[in-house]
Amino acid sequence: MSTEIKADKVLDVKGLVCPRPMVMTMNTLKAMDKGQVIHVIANDSSTKHSIPALCERAGYKLVETKEEGGTFTFIIQK
């Protein structure tokens, strides 16, 4: 995780498969305030394209994305 960006929430969806990581990310973001930041950790490969696409469509800012050893991390600002 980026050391410069403090997340308001951490959502660990490792072990969950499509579509649960996307649904949980979207539902968590919906409940957050504008400007707040979430750190999502997933290991389902379908998140690689879908979470960035979801952010773009919903107008959320994808601040950072990383893939390391099969784990995907996303830092998203609502």
Binding site: C18, P19, R20, M22, V23, M26, L54, R57
Partner: protein
């Protein structure tokens, strides 16, 4: 774009029908499920059904005894007229 109203008719491949239904909620469309055949007592089916229940999606059954809201086939047919998309699975 306005939200859509989508009906998923759950028939044979129930685990995938439930998994798909959960995914369809991502864009805040309304998803209702109509179960036309008894629930299969399979681990994957029950696991995916849990996901449906967690999201509080409406699940109707055209048969009695599943612990779900019962509808006759006629009631179901009438309700289906209200949906934008009907996805039999």
């Amino acid at each position: 774009m306005d939200s859509k109203k989508i009906a998923v008719i759950v028939r044979d491949r129930q685990a995938e029908a439930f998994r798909m239904s959960v995914g369809l909620t991502i864009l805040e469309d309304t998803i209702d499920l109509f179960l036309c055949r008894p629930l299969k007592a399979e681990e994957e089916v029950l696991a995916q059904l849990e996901g449906v229940k967690e999201l509080d999606l409406k699940v109707f059954a055209t048969f009695q005894g599943a612990g779900l809201e019962h509808l006759t086939a006629e009631d179901m047919a009438e309700r289906l007229l209200d949906y934008d998309h009907i996805l039999p699975y």
